[in-house]
């Protein structure tokens, strides 16, 4: 059997058996670029232009990528694949796996988890040891089908239910049918926000992880036997079955059949991929693209070069590449930009079985417009280069060496190395003495247990030697290098804010720990940090209140990526892990021609093209299941950018704090969108989910993009240079026990200079003679630490595990002024079926110096005690207690440690009722105490939550589902800064949510929540400070087939009586930066400039929790409300003949009102009606008609200020199928009031602009080699009485008729047999501008463009081209009646563009 035949056979095997088990094909997003795809017995690395195919040796079941390591779960072990050096090593039963059949793989910080049919194997990354978990450890079944990391938990799907591993207690806990799971046999898990979806043999189950509540959607509801495809699209889930396609809305639990199912030729759905513009659908009979905007379904055929469409087994969407996989080891790949399919054969391109591998990857990305008229390069040009060099060698099956380096070179504007990353690793065999050796630019110094020190980040090296064996009796590990990161702690209290500014920027991604009231939260589900900007946002409003104590610990990167240089389209895009854990998925799609834009967004393209569009970039980001699409458009100049921003300004919108030219669209039914303009860029962000985390995320993204140049464009420098050497020797005298000793030598390479603070103001003191801040020099640190640790683990009861750990250390400061000290810490951790928890404690002497940071809110740590336990008196009644007390030596105003003691203490008790059939209820009581010599605050909080399906109540069986969720919390804090009770703050938060589905086809939902913040005044009555409430509601029905009425209502109300000053003050403290611990020499420094005021420790150490000073000001009341209704009509459900037709009229009213002290200061209301009618047959004739009418009303007298009418019609006629002729006829009438200041105060001066547009386009595929696209455009624009400003600021009135007309032609060549190998294009366009009247211009413009995309296997990818644009004004100088020469400006510009990757 040839290798190719073997691969084909493997793919067929995948096709035959896999649909019931896992997503086809399995895939994993690479954190740097591209995607990894499993295809039978191979795995594929796919980026925009290349597919590298590697052998797996067995069927690939699942994949995941942890940094640069790709983990491939196969039917014959696990492959650990270094994506840089291309070295593969296999982990098998020899290494401790319980089975060769590995069904899934997942990873967290410390471990990689292998799911097998004989249990779960946990692989510890630090020492590569494997531990196996089976039923006796709490797994419901040893046959494990899937594994998924959700936050800090790892979840497993088994044959008898689901289970999760909790690192806090080192144990597993399971849930099964008795807890409400739809079916015991769970094939696959998906994360949707903070929920877990389970695909079981009986249907889908949604599991709310925190509340532990199941909601089931049975297969019977879909009349299906099998769920084949499950695609997450924000909070909408696309479910492909053997009985057609469905959407399930997670927000209102509505399960709808895809309304145009009748247009599809098969019910067997094999693939669904979504992006914000299209849904890509495959069945076993067809390959189709559904336009979400126009509802047009396009069926691809041979005319699109699709050579096969029957029998697809699955799909992958990676940026602009959509791959349809078939069972004969081929894929049909659609390039969205090229609008063309190519066939790919999954033949091996790489042989990772060689002993030695080497790999070079280089990339150049350049676009450099040159202006012949101004004789200069465009300032927005970009020109970057990056590359990898890697090497791998296998000494034997279990001895491997890998090394790689990645260099990213800067732009033309700021030449230089932006970042250099390197990684060298040797992995020895278990029988070797030398087990591991590593050299890394980001090396973690850590031991198995985190004792006195949390992991430190170094640029350095690590080596470990050990006695032979899987569990070595003795080992020695040595680590050394320069400190790369600096550990910082911020403590924040005070009024709740949208975003908290941390004290440092350039945070090392995923290094943070965020605690609220002592409890650690989870990134991505509870909060997001914008790492480069150092901004923290909580994702759900109920996570914190105004009395919460927030503690953030993180590592600040001392060597961040250097300057970004000029602001290109691409530079505006946040990098991976820049905004929380959001990473780019798929490629970046850069579109520079109109054809590409039409292919990308189809019917929406004219909106941009009509407003000076130059180029666009589209990219998707994902975090867990959430996906955000960012589109940035270069509109040529700011006028156009602002024009399209104003045109698209939504009726119902919310401002984004801190940004003046950005809004969030609140009027969408099940999504949020944000719009902004910045210089000549117009920015759009979409997230197809409408919940709190989505709203927060979209704001964070917009903030980061708009501010990116300042956020990520500066280097923080190296605040200190410090190196350390550490050695740890350990022995394991008996199984389960390890004893170790370690020594660490840490030194600063130089002294440190810190500003001296004025004791009165807390501000840096200035030397009057020089005007410079006064600096205090401290001697260089020299620290020697020694520690001994012991760890013991043993089984406990039935399946339980008991772990004990203790550590004792001494520190010796050898530098001048340093002190000596000691510290000890330990914990006992238990996991068992009845009880799980941990008790930990820590004590330090005053002179002890920690390696990292032991600063507290009040000074330096003295001791800490923490107890956390959950008991299960019965399985459905988890009861949790939590206690955390931290005592510190308080710092004085000079930052020196005193003998005073400050205390922070948290206590909490919670009981949950999780019995199937009863209301899922939790009650929680907690208290917090902040006590130091300056002030004392006592806080108590009570939280109650309930979740219940009322349809379970006897007598209500006729209702399908009626779920009610409620939350109420009340917090009260008493603060006495002066030793006596001073004031009392109270916060009440409530949330009530109902979802009512009388039948399968109807859904009604409502969400109401409120937040009331009050302060007790001297008369001992509570005074309202802030009242905020929101209501979201809607209803949907499909009771009449073919008709889908929907209605939505949203209202947001704010009553704010806090003065501006008091609400904007950020409060908190930050730990000393640039110091080790806070012992002598630890003079606090101010946070870097540019941070919110009041962040310095002196300024805030006295600031207690609570809303700060309440100033009674006239109340500002704001209400935003939107009501909308729509009607989807799909006659195809009545008669299949009519299935191409869809009609969708909608009506909406958006209202914005603000009142100050009962007087209305702002009033805006927009009435909008739009309708879309589509006949999308894909045969001879397609028709799309869109109508919009919008009226805006404003001011006290509610007068009209803008009226817009828009008609967009598209007719596609195909005399022969592969030759569509498209006619677009558009009409747009915009009437608006002129700016009163420009028309002498007149308030009734209307401007009117009418646009008639006709575009005729003919796409002709002459033969396999040549395709032409001919376009003729004719525009007429009538403008009357439009008053604006000329560049000199003088009023100018436009009254004219302007014509634009011209032909365009594009030639596309595919000269080689394999269409993907070489693509050439040539485009030409000529336009004539003429007209009459004031403001009309007369000019001729033309462009010529040539380019090519050349692929040499997966070795070379070249996308290059050059375009010449010219515009000649035919009326030179200043036209009559004009005050300036603004009508026309000659342009002559050439733009070469090159994107080249070499992959050898």
């Amino acid at each position: 059997m040839t290798r190719r035949a073997a691969i084909a056979a493997a793919l067929l095997a995948c096709a035959y058996a896999a649909p019931a088990w896992a997503r086809i094909p399995p895939l994993a997003v690479d954190p740097v670029e591209g995607m990894w795809i499993g295809g039978g017995e191979v795995f594929i690395y796919q980026t925009q232009g290349r597919w590298s195919v590697f052998p797996a040796g067995a069927n690939v079941n699942k994949m995941t990528v942890d940094a640069q390591i790709v983990w491939v779960a196969t039917d014959d072990g696990v492959i650990r694949f270094d994506s840089q050096s291309r070295r593969a090593t296999r982990i098998t039963m020899d290494d401790g796996l319980p089975s060769q059949v590995v069904t899934a793989v997942a990873f967290d910080d410390q471990f990689v988890w292998f799911a097998t049919n004989k249990g779960v194997a946990r692989y510890r990354k630090l020492d590569r040891t494997i531990r196996v978990y089976t039923e006796k450890d709490g797994l419901p079944s040893k046959v494990v089908n899937d594994a998924l990391t959700v936050g800090r938990q790892v979840w497993f799907a088994t044959r008898e239910g689901i289970a999760y591993y909790s690192p806090e207690v080192d144990g597993l806990r399971g849930f099964g049918e008795a807890d409400g799971l739809a079916g015991a046999d769970v094939a696959e898990l998906y994360q949707v926000a903070d929920e877990l979806w389970c695909r079981t043999d009986a249907g889908l189950s949604r599991f709310r992880i925190v509340q532990r509540v199941f909601t089931n959607f049975s297969l019977a509801m879909m009349k299906a036997q099998q769920v084949r495809v499950f695609t997450v699209d924000g909070t909408t889930l696309w479910i492909g079955t053997d009985n057609g396609l469905f959407t399930l809305n997670d927000a209102d639990d509505s399960l709808l059949r895809f309304p145009q199912q009748g247009a599809l030729h098969s019910l067997n759905i094999t693939g669904v991929e979504v992006d914000p513009s299209y849904v890509y659908i495959t069945t076993d009979k067809e390959v189709a693209q559904y336009n979400r905007l126009t509802q047009f379904i396009r069926f691809f055929t041979i005319t699109d070069n699709l050579t096969r469409q029957d029998g697809s087994i699955g799909t992958v969407l990676n940026g602009t590449q959509w791959a349809v996989m078939f069972d004969d080891s081929t894929a049909q790949v659609y390039d969205v930009n090229l609008d063309h399919f190519v066939e790919r054969k999954l033949g091996l391109t790489e042989n990772n079985e060689r002993k030695t591998t080497g790999h070079i990857f280089g990339r150049v990305n350049s676009q450099t417009p040159y202006d012949f008229k101004a004789h200069q390069f465009d300032p927005n040009r970009y020109d970057t280069a990056d590359g990898n060099l890697s090497f791998g060698h296998s000494f034997s099956d279990d001895r491997n060496l890998s090394a790689s380096a990645r260099l990213d070179y800067g732009t033309l504007e700021t030449k230089g190395i932006r970042t250099l990353q390197y990684n060298g690793e040797y992995m020895g065999a278990q029988s070797d003495v030398l087990r591991d050796a590593r050299v890394q630019d980001q090396l973690k110094y850590q031991t198995v247990e985190e004792g006195l020190d949390r992991p430190l980040l170094l640029q350095g090296a690590y080596a470990k030697v050990a006695t032979p064996g899987a569990e070595p009796k003795a080992s020695l590990a040595v680590t050394g290098g320069f400190r790369r990161g600096e550990l910082v702690r911020d403590f924040i209290t005070g009024p709740r804010q949208t975003t908290y500014q941390l004290s440092r920027k350039y945070i090392v991604p995923a290094s943070e720990r965020v605690y609220v009231d002592g409890v650690q939260l989870t990134s991505g589900t509870d909060y997001t940090i914008v790492y480069t900007a150092g901004q923290l946002s909580f994702l759900t409003p109920e996570t914190i209140d105004d009395l919460s104590v927030i503690w953030v610990e993180y590592e600040a990167d001392l060597m961040p990526v250097k300057n970004l240089g000029s602001l290109s389209l691409l530079d505006l895009l946040p990098a991976d892990n820049e905004v929380g854990t959001w990473v780019q998925t798929g490629g970046v799609s850069l579109i520079t021609d109109q054809t590409g834009l039409y292919n990308r967004i189809d019917g929406a393209a004219p909106k941009y093209i009509d407003r000076g569009w130059v180029s666009s970039v589209y990219v998707n980001y994902s975090q867990g299941s959430r996906t955000i699409q960012v589109a940035i458009h270069d509109m040529g100049n700011q006028t156009y950018a602002q024009a399209i921003y104003n045109f698209a300004l939504p009726a119902a919108r919310m401002d984004i704090p801190g940004l003046s030219n950005a809004v969030v669209d609140m009027g969408l039914t099940s999504a949020y969108a944000a719009y902004a303009f910045l210089d000549h860029f117009y920015i759009e962000i979409n997230i197809s989910a409408k919940d709190d985390p989505s709203l927060t995320s979209i704001k964070l993204f917009m903030n980061e993009i708009v501010n990116r140049k300042s956020q990520a464009g500066a280097n923080s420098g190296d605040p200190f240079k410090q190196w350390m050497v550490a050695a740890r020797a350990a022995t394991s005298p008996v199984h389960g026990m390890e004893v170790g000793v370690r020594a660490v030598d840490m030194q600063n390479t130089g002294g440190q200079r810190t500003p001296v603070l004025d004791p009165l103001t807390g501000q840096p003191m200035i030397d009057p003679s020089t005007g410079a801040p006064v600096q205090k020099a401290t001697p260089p640190l020299r620290l020697l630490t020694g520690a001994a640790d012991a760890r013991y683990q043993r089984g406990f009861g039935q399946g339980g595990l008991l772990t004990g750990y203790g550590e004792f250390a001494g520190s010796d400061r050898l530098d001048a002024g340093g002190s000596n000290g000691w510290a000890g810490t330990g914990f006992v951790r238990l996991s068992s079926s009845k009880l799980e928890g941990i008790v930990s404690g820590r004590k330090e002497s005053q002179g002890f110096t920690a390696l990292g940071n032991d600063s507290t809110r009040f000074g330096k740590l003295d001791d800490e005690l923490r107890v956390s336990a959950t008991g299960y008196p019965v399985a459905w009644l988890p009861t949790t207690v939590f206690f955390d007390r931290q005592r510190s030596w308080v710092e004085d105003a000079g930052g020196n440690v005193s003998d005073n003691i400050g205390t922070i203490q948290h206590a909490m008790a919670r009981v949950q009722l999780n019995k199937k059939g009863l209301p899922m209820t939790s009650l929680q009581l907690s208290s917090a105490i902040l006590d130091n010599p300056n002030f004392k605050t006592n806080r108590v909080q009570a939280v109650g939550q309930m979740d219940y399906d009322l349809a379970q109540i006897p007598g209500l069986g006729f209702i399908k589902r009626f779920t009610v969720r409620g939350l109420y919390s009340i917090s009260q804090a008493e603060t006495d800064p002066t030793g006596k009770a001073s004031y009392l703050d109270r916060v009440q938060q409530s949330r009530l949510e109902g979802r009512f589905s009388p039948t399968n086809t109807e859904s009604i939902y409502a969400l109401f929540r409120s937040r009331l913040l009050e302060r007790e005044d001297p008369s001992e009555s509570f005074v309202r400070s802030v009242l905020h409430w929101e209501l979201y509601s809607g209803a949907k029905s499909t009771i009449i087939p073919g008709i889908v009425p929907t209605v939505n209502y949203t209202a947001i109300y704010d009553d704010n009586r806090l003065s501006t000053q008091s609400t904007s003050t950020s409060t908190g403290t930050s730990t000393p930066a640039g110091t080790v611990g806070s012992a002598a020499g630890g003079t606090p420094v101010l946070a870097p400039t540019g941070l919110a005021t009041g962040m310095g420790p002196n300024a805030t150490a006295m600031t207690p929790v609570g809303p700060g000073i309440v100033t009674l000001v006239p109340p500002t009341r704001t209400i935003q409300a939107t009501i909308g209704g729509g009607l989807g009509i799909y006659p195809g459900q009545w008669a299949k003949l009519l299935s191409p037709a869809a009609i969708q009229p909608t009506v909406s009213i958006a209202d914005n009102e603000t009142a100050v002290d009962k007087e209305k200061t702002q009033y805006n209301r927009i009435y909008r009606f739009d309708n879309r009618a589509v006949w999308a047959s894909g045969a001879k004739l397609d028709l799309e008609l869109y109508q919009l009418h919008q009226v805006s009303v404003t001011a006290q007298d509610h007068h009209e200020n803008a009226i817009q009418t828009l008609l967009q019609n598209r007719i596609v006629y195909r005399p022969v199928y592969y030759s569509p002729i498209t006619l677009r006829l558009n009409y747009q009438d915009t009437r608006s009031l002129n700016d009163a200041t420009l028309v002498g105060g007149a308030t009734d001066s209307w401007a009117d602009q009418i646009l008639y547009q006709g575009v005729l386009q003919w796409l002709m595929r002459w033969n396999r080699v040549l395709t032409t696209l001919s376009t003729y455009t004719f525009d007429i624009t009538d403008t009357s009485n439009f008053v604006s400003k000329d560049p000199n600021g003088l009023p100018i009135t436009y009254d004219n008729r302007q014509y634009q007309t011209g032909p365009e032609i594009e030639f596309r060549f595919y000269p080689l047999q394999e269409a993907a190998a070489l693509y050439l294009y040539e485009r030409d366009g000529v336009f004539r501008w003429f007209g009459h009247g004031q403001g009309a211009s007369s000019s001729i413009s033309y462009y010529v463009a040539v380019g090519s995309i050349w692929r040499l296997g997966d070795k070379v990818y070249l996308d290059g081209g050059v375009q010449y644009d010219a515009l000649h004004c035919l009326l030179p100088g200043c036209p009559a009646g004009y005050t300036s020469t603004m009508a026309c400006a000659t342009v002559s510009r050439i733009t070469p563009r090159l994107y080249l990757t070499v992959n050898l």
């Binding site: 035959y16 058996a17 039963m93 319980p98 049919n117 249990g119 196996v132 040893k142 046959v143």
Partner: protein, 332 residues
């Protein structure tokens, strides 16, 4: 009172770690609690009654004896007589099939399992929604040559969803303790076998110059790395029987469509076409009954003539007194 539901789902019971003994039989679950001392000490009758009682109570025969000429139809009849493939293979199971394909000989020689038999069993497993089907063999000669000559490669090409894997290197095997083994204390057993949820043994019916016959128990030797030591360093018959303690098929089907009567195991030799298949859960019983398929080495053999079958019976791997077996004869 017998709990019939225990029979619904044959399950794998591993004891964990490298010493795991993979068992594929529900009945074996009861055996795990019984030490060898108890067993050998004379509790045979009670234990056998317990185990066999379950099978009888469920109405399942101990042995299915199918007469026919088309291997595909005969395999269908085997499963039908045993209550359906679903009693052995559940949705999501990973199935290993071990035919005899160890010799680079033409199918007509009878030294290998009929390729259509292997194909039929593999297809039945996939129809039962097995997650994966792997056909394992540790060939005596050059692997691809064996597959090609015996016709398995051509047959399995029509069902590429089932994977054929040749065991070639020491790394394909896992050292495994033989708990209760008299002669064989450890064996290097194929990792893929140890990983399986279901194991179906598909031996050919043939004579063997050392072992007397090569049926189900002897076929297991194609799943261990060091076969030579069976012949040189150990009591061959005892070691074969001991191996049955580690390798426990859910089902054994002896392919008696043809039989190699002499010059086994490789042939060429005298052949016959019994046109039968013998199947059952208990491997010693199947082998004992399988002796009736033909006159191997020109002799009508009984279990007493084949010591490894007799020893396997004593180790509790099945009743070998065929008079005590519930036999269901069917035609296909």
């Amino acid at each position: 009172m017998v709990n019939a539901s225990l029979l619904v789902r044959p399950r794998s019971v591993g004891s964990g770690g490298n010493t795991a003994v993979t068992r594929f039989h529900t009945e074996e679950q009861s055996m795990t609690a019984i030490s060898r001392r108890t067993f050998v000490g004379g509790s045979l009758a009670a234990v056998a009654a317990l185990r066999y009682g379950r099978a009888f109570a469920a109405g399942e025969p101990d042995i299915v004896d199918v007469q026919g000429s088309d291997p595909q139809k005969m395999i269908a009849a085997v499963f039908a007589a045993l209550g359906g493939i679903g009693k052995f293979v559940k949705k999501g199971d990973f199935v290993v099939i071990k035919p005899n394909a160890a010799f680079a000989n033409p199918a007509e020689w009878g030294s290998t399992t009929h390729p259509q038999t292997v194909l039929a069993v593999a297809k039945a497993c996939l129809d039962a929604k097995a997650k994966g089907v792997m056909i394992l063999e540790f060939p005596q000669a050059k692997g691809e040559m064996c597959l090609k000559r015996c016709g398995l490669m051509e047959a399995m090409a029509t069902l590429p969803a089932a994977k054929v894997k040749l065991l070639v290197a020491a790394s394909d095997f896992q050292k495994t303790e033989v708990k209760g083994g008299v002669s064989l204390k450890t064996a290097d057993v194929a990792k893929n076998l140890l990983s399986a949820d279901v194991f179906i043994n598909l031996p050919a019916a043939k004579a063997h110059y050392q072992a007397g016959v090569s049926l189900g128990l002897k076929n297991h030797m194609g799943l261990v790395f060091d076969r030579q030591i069976f012949h040189t360093g150990l009591d061959l018959h005892q070691a074969i029987a001991d191996l049955g303690l580690v390798i426990r098929p859910s089902l054994t089907i002896i392919d008696g469509t043809r039989a190699l009567l002499t010059n086994g195991p490789a042939g060429p030799g005298d052949t016959a076409t019994p046109g039968r298949m013998v199947a059952g859960r208990r491997i010693a019983s199947v082998d004992a009954y399988g002796l009736t398929l033909a006159k191997f080495n020109n002799k009508n053999m009984t279990p007493a003539d084949v010591r490894h079958i007799e020893l396997a019976g004593k180790l509790g791997l099945g009743e070998i007194d065929i008079a005590k077996l519930k036999v269901k004869k069917v035609s296909a």
